[in-house]
């Protein structure tokens, strides 16, 4: 049985190029902080990786802080701004559709006395730039809006928000780009983004490496104190192999980002068309939307059962969002609730997430599996 892995928004397999780079990286064992040659060699690799990531982001300046993953980068952005600008005001703006690594950080700040506005999405899963900007006050220190939503693929109006916020130089703009980085072709140049979060294992690097981009001149406070690595923003000896792998994955992703987007869009369209033919299926189509993510609800079925039923035939997808499978309990997705879906729809929601290496044939085989398994499950009801 040839497996079809449509869960790339949860994590991706290592890219072959990344595997090679990773294996080679283990010979570069020096501590980048060492004065001697071994240190210099390792430091050169970090420098190269920073260039690779910047290039993929479409920026030529600014600081890149490598972190232990996307969650840490999001936390660093939110808490780093809060610590640095406590005196500037006491208000922040975010949305109701953020990933828990952003949302939970804001909820922690609320317990510390900050005021946070959570902007709700429209029923298609996107927040409007106006709604976000309307929430900004003279007291606002940070606005944080994700680039591509991990459950629906909805692309948020980052450029509109970022450009408008440029008129308010004291408001920092953070974007969680974990599902966008290396996929959305535009990059972030000229979008008015001050802080941007990336994660390695969503683009073919291993788990445990991520990064936070800071536009030139943006200052935040660190979460970790120590040897002052990463411009003092992330002390601790650098994860050299992880960073090399991340740089390589970014380079690969950036190489044909436009062509890949178009390819995946073709797959996504075929998938959406096929799903729409199935009984009880509603496909969620925010506009604009990343083709890498397709969310669909099968009303009355249990997402968890559906996931296992598809898995049994070799197709891997996830329920609404893999991050909500905590200790086996699937919590009702806050994003889907915010979009106004009924509980029966939310329970029956699964997420397909594609990779550039997938083919139209994969999509057709996947659709055949979904169709037979959904019919089988529907048949068991009465």
């Amino acid at each position: 049985m040839e497996e079809i892995y449509f869960d790339t928004a949860a994590t991706t397999p290592l890219l072959p190029e990344v595997r090679d780079a990773l294996v080679a990286s283990f010979d570069v064992f020096g501590n980048p902080s060492s004065l001697h040659r071994k240190g210099v060699q390792a430091e050169a690799q970090l420098k190269r990786a920073r260039e690779q990531v910047r290039k993929c982001l479409g920026v030529s300046s600014g600081t890149l802080v490598f972190t232990g993953g996307g969650t840490e980068a999001n936390n660093l952005a939110v808490f780093g701004v809060a610590k640095q600008y406590r005196g500037r005001g006491g208000h922040m703006v975010t949305t109701q559709i953020e990933h828990p690594s952003v949302r939970e950080a804001f909820q922690a700040l609320e317990r510390d006395g900050w005021h946070v506005t959570y902007v709700p999405p429209a029923t298609d899963g996107s927040v409007s730039a106006e709604a976000v900007l309307d929430a900004v006050t003279d007291d606002t220190v940070l606005v944080s809006v994700m680039h591509v939503n991990n459950e629906t693929g909805a692309i948020q109006p980052i450029a509109d928000i970022g450009r408008a916020l440029q008129e308010r130089p004291k408001v920092l703009f953070h974007v969680d780009g974990i599902q966008a980085f290396g996929k959305v072709p535009s990059g972030i140049r000229d979008l008015g983004v001050d802080l941007y979060t990336m994660s390695g294992h969503k683009i073919g690097a291993p788990k445990g490496i991520g990064a936070l981009y800071l536009r030139q001149g943006v200052r935040i406070a660190p979460l970790l104190y120590g040897g002052g690595q990463e411009n003092g923003l992330r002390s601790g000896t650098e994860n050299v192999p992880g960073i090399i792998a991340f740089g390589t994955a970014a380079e690969v992703a950036g190489r044909h980002v436009e062509a890949r987007w178009q390819h995946v869009e073709q797959l996504s369209n075929a998938l959406v068309d096929g799903l729409r033919q199935l009984p009880r299926c509603t496909v969620h189509l925010p506009s604009p939307k990343s083709p890498y993510i397709v969310s669909a609800s099968f009303e009355g079925l249990k997402g968890e059962v559906l996931v296992h039923a598809l898995e049994a035939k070799g197709l891997y997808v996830s329920t609404g969002s893999a991050c909500s499978t905590r200790g086996g309990h699937v919590k009702a997705s806050h994003v889907l609730s915010a979009m106004g879906l009924s509980p029966a729809q939310i329970n029956g929601t699964i997420r397909f997430s594609l990779g550039p290496w997938h083919t139209l044939d994969d999509v057709h085989r996947a659709l055949a599996i979904v169709e037979s398994q959904v019919r089988w499950l529907v048949d068991l009801e009465r």
Binding site: E304, V305, V307, H308, A309, L310, E311, A312, G327, G328, H329, D379, L380, R382
Partner: protein, 394 residues
């Protein structure tokens, strides 16, 4: 220095002609449990068991043996020469420990003189040792009626033994002394406890689990395997049979009335378990059912479910309250695993209105829509076996 531990196994010493066999099994189980403890020797002579171990290993050996079914209590003992001074030192040490550790305030000394050539009589020796102890140990007095601690002195042919504290052990009968049973093991709280109780009465347990992938996940199966492992840690070894039950459940779903779904499912489980039992030469089935706990556990349900088998179905928890079962699950270490939330096959396919008082005739009628024999045969054919052996605290 070598330390001795006295092993008491109360109940099995009552059983006349089977006794030698029980003791052989107990020694085997103890050896298994003590595997990897260096320098440990088990002596078994004349109706008493003694474990000899290096001093550094004593607490390790004690805690392992406490969990061996069949052992009632244990006492670390000091071995001395046949000399009053040496015995006295051992008595004083034992009492000092009891004062320090158990806050004992009163004591008595009981002497057993198996060696009649020893020049002092029991009462006299007790008086001498007690007198010396009173001088040497502060904050303690004699109370011959209700002492906090009794120090036993056994005068034997070659040596004397002195011991005080009795460490309670799990009790019961040695696993393997009562034959083999099939435990219907789910991921819930009850069935692992039922299996543990069967082990405690000497049964060797083989677990039978019904897995309904994709209606339950691999994590749910992993959880049940973890439970089987915990049972194996107690009983030495557990074979687990995983029955792929999905087809049976979907057939029931398709062909039988919703309200009887659970009853028929349980009947199919028993049929399949009995067939596995027959092949594995088991003698009984064990379930975690407790009377009246849920809809399928009313007497009417049990009556109808039980009607498919002539095998003994043991229900060790039948009269237990839920809180007591939960307490026991915590004691034996299965609770934390059991409460992990992965659904097992009983919680899916749950009808809206299950029949709490099904009638045998209506259930048999409903089952005529099922190819019972074929479903049982196919399920047994697809059953996989996995073996778990005790980890012994590794």
């Amino acid at each position: 220095m070598t330390q001795h531990i006295i092993v008491r196994y109360g109940e099995i010493s009552l059983k006349g002609k089977n006794r030698a066999e029980f003791e052989r099994i107990l020694v085997r189980n103890m050896k298994q449990k003590l595997a990897g403890c260096k320098g440990v020797r088990i002596h078994h002579t004349g109706g008493r068991m003694m474990v000899e171990s290096d001093e550094t290993q004593v607490s390790n050996v004690l805690s392992r043996l406490q969990n061996v079914f069949g052992i009632v209590s244990l006492s670390p003992a000091k071995v001395t020469g046949l000399d009053v001074d040496q015995m006295s030192t051992a008595v004083v040490d034992t009492l000092s420990d009891a004062v320090k550790v158990d806050h004992a305030r009163t004591f008595k000394i009981e002497v057993r003189r198996a060696n009649k050539r020893f020049p002092m009589q029991s009462l006299e020796l007790a008086r001498v040792l007690g007198g010396r102890a009173l001088q040497a140990v502060s904050d303690i007095t004699v109370d011959v009626h209700h002492p906090d601690i009794t120090v036993f002195v056994e005068v034997r042919d070659q040596e004397a033994m002195v011991y005080g504290t009795k460490v309670p052990a799990v009790g019961g009968m040695p696993v393997g002394s009562a034959g083999r049973v099939g435990l219907l093991l789910s991921g819930g709280i009850d069935s692992p406890v039922a299996g543990w109780l069967a082990m405690k009465r000497g049964a060797e347990v083989e677990a039978i689990h019904f897995h309904s992938y994709p209606f339950t996940s691999e994590r749910a199966l992993q959880k049940v395997e973890d439970l089987a492992q915990i049972l194996a840690d107690w009983g030495g070894r557990v074979h687990m049979h995983t029955v792929h039950f999905t087809d049976v459940q979907t057939e029931i779903r398709k062909h039988c009335p919703d309200s009887l779904g659970i009853t028929i499912m349980r009947r199919m489980m028993l049929r399949i378990a009995e067939e596995i039992g027959r092949r594995r030469k088991l003698l009984a089935l064990v379930t975690g059912e407790s009377l009246g706990q849920v809809a399928s556990q009313t007497l009417e349900s049990m009556h109808v479910i039980n009607a498919v088998t002539r095998w003994p179905v043991l229900r060790p928890l039948v009269a237990e309250d839920k809180v007591d079962i939960m307490r026991r699950a915590r004691q034996i270490g299965t609770y934390e695993t059991s409460i992990l939330p992965y659904e097992d096959c009983c919680t899916l396919f749950v009808p809206k209105n299950p029949a709490t008082r099904p009638k045998l005739a209506e259930v048999e009628e409903a089952e005529r829509a099922l190819a019972v024999e074929r479903l049982v045969a196919e399920a047994v054919e697809r059953t996989e076996m996995k073996t778990f052996t005790a980890r012994n605290g590794e």
